[in-house]
Each structure stands twice: as structure tokens, then as C-alpha cells.
């Protein structure tokens, strides 16, 4: 391969001489400056937070996507909150049912002991007091 950094032959020398730069046509500068001035100035420095793309279609698409994400986020939050409320309600109902069943069992036991001539305190050496309905609410 020819070494370009070394001696050029006559053809290349003439090529280099012939291929001189040429000036642009008259009025080039004026036409260029006119175009430059008619352009919307671009802001110096870029936003460090978020730079929206310039193309309107793309910008609309991005705006729509952000709005959809926000709606999805709010909806998801609301659905999660309602699910938690439903779980809490179910747990409360289960607790009440359990308490009712326990009261019923105690009543049944107490009645059986009374029939046998005993009381709960005598049987277990402790004093067991059955809560009244109003007291149950306060205990919960």
C-alpha cells in the first residue's frame, strides 16, 4: 500500500494544488445569519431535573404515559386501602364470634357446675367473673 506520509507523486501534488478551497457564493453570510436569527433560541444549559423531548408527538405520548402512571398509582393505593379495611373488618367479626362462643362455653360450664353444686371459683381456686355485654365492648 502506498505510504501517504511519504513522498507524493506528481499526480497527488497536482491534485493537492488543484483542490484548493473555494469561497461560498455571494450573500452566503447574510442568508445564513438570517436563518440563524429566525430560529428559536435554544436555552443555554440543560435542566438537571427533567428535560422533555422536543418532538410534540413524543412529548404528548410521554405526558399521557405519566398521567396513566399517576392514575394507576392512585387507583392502586385506594384498592390497597380498601382491601386492608376488609381484612380488618373480617378480623373484628371473627374476634366477636370467638368471644361469643367462649361466653357460651363459660355459661354452659357454669350451669353444669351449678347443677353439680359447685361454683367456678371453688372448682379452680380463682374468681371468674362473666363480663356484661357493655363491659365486653370496653375490653375490646
Amino acid at each position: 500500500m502506498q505510504k501517504f506520509d511519504e513522498v507524493q507523486d506528481e499526480f497527488e501534488r497536482e491534485l493537492g494544488q488543484r483542490m484548493r478551497r473555494v469561497d461560498p457564493p455571494e450573500g452566503f453570510m447574510e442568508r445564513l445569519l438570517e436563518r440563524a436569527e429566525s430560529e428559536v433560541p435554544v436555552k443555554s444549559g440543560r435542566s438537571k431535573v427533567l428535560t422533555m423531548p422536543r418532538r410534540p408527538v413524543f412529548r404528548a405520548w410521554v405526558g399521557g404515559a405519566i398521567a396513566a402512571m399517576l392514575v394507576a398509582g392512585v387507583t392502586g393505593e385506594e384498592m390497597y386501602r380498601r382491601a386492608q379495611q376488609r381484612k380488618a373488618e373480617a378480623a373484628r367479626q371473627q374476634f366477636e364470634t370467638a368471644m361469643q362462643a367462649t361466653d357460651h362455653a363459660f355459661d354452659h360450664t357454669r350451669a353444669s357446675l351449678q347443677r353439680a353444686g359447685l361454683t367456678l371459683s371453688e372448682s379452680f381456686g380463682i374468681e371468674i367473673k362473666t363480663l356484661e355485654p357493655q363491659e365486653k365492648g370496653e375490653a375490646q
Partner: protein, 174 residues
Amino acid sequence: MQIDSIKFRNLVEQHQSMVFSIALRVTGEFGVAEEVAQDAFLELHRSSERLESEDHVRFWLRRVTVHRATDALRSRARRPESAAEEWMDEQHSEGPGAGLDFGIVARLDELLRTLPEAMRIAVVLRYQEEMLPDEIASMLGQPVATVKSNLQRGLQLLRRKAATTMKEYVRAEI
């Protein structure tokens, strides 16, 4: 480097012949070349904050001009490659004294336009801008070997075309 209108005007004055000449020799059309040159300078006007020095501006302008010129060529579907490849045929073998005479020199730009795009760009940057192959490779993002190959093949084609054109020229004179 922040650009203002005075600085921009100075940069245009300083580089306009370089930009316009690259655009003209790559596109081969005066009107297209002016459009390409203006586009390159307008891009400089918009992007000047990123440019750090005069050398960087020159390098950047050359690269943008070449890219805009090739874009313009492609959009106009001006593809002389197929015609130029015919010149690679052995029947146009290089003669011993294939130097340029005045008549051929006068038609150089015309011959240059018939070169394939990659070869034409390499030849313009090498002989108009006096850039070395590794500088051209760096600017175009190509391997140095590719640039050297394009230069060598471009020169070879130019020699053959020049030799043939000269024969036709001499025949016409007779």
C-alpha cells in the same frame, strides 16, 4: 464555549470556505453545497456550548459537513458508484505517465464527482483539507486501513479516468 452572534459571525468567516468546499466536492452541486454548508453552521450555532476550542470547532465542522453532504447525496439518490466501478475494469489500466496536464486539471472536479462516495470523501479530506489518513479515520469513525484503501482506490480511479479523459480530449482536439 458560549457562542454569541459576533463570535458566530467570526467562526463563519473563518471556516466558510472550508465548509463550502467540502460540501461542494462531496455533493457536486452548488445549490446543495450552500444548503449543506448553512445547515452545518446552523448546527454549530445550536450546539456551540459543547465545543471547547478552535481545533474542536474545525474538527466538528468538517465531520458535520461530511455527514450532511452524504445525507443530501443519499436523499437525492445520486449514486455514481455503479458507473465508477466500471472504471476499475482492467481495460482502463493505468498508463506509465498518468500525470495531470492542464486540460485534465480543469476537469478534476467533474472527475471527482464520479468517484464512489467513500472514496470521494477520503480524497477531498486528504487533498483539499490536507488531513492524514489517521485524522480522517478518527473523524469518520472508520479504521485507518479502510481510509487508506479508499484513498488508494480513489486515486487509482482518478488516474484512470484522467488518462482516459485526456485521450478523449486529445482526440477531440485532432
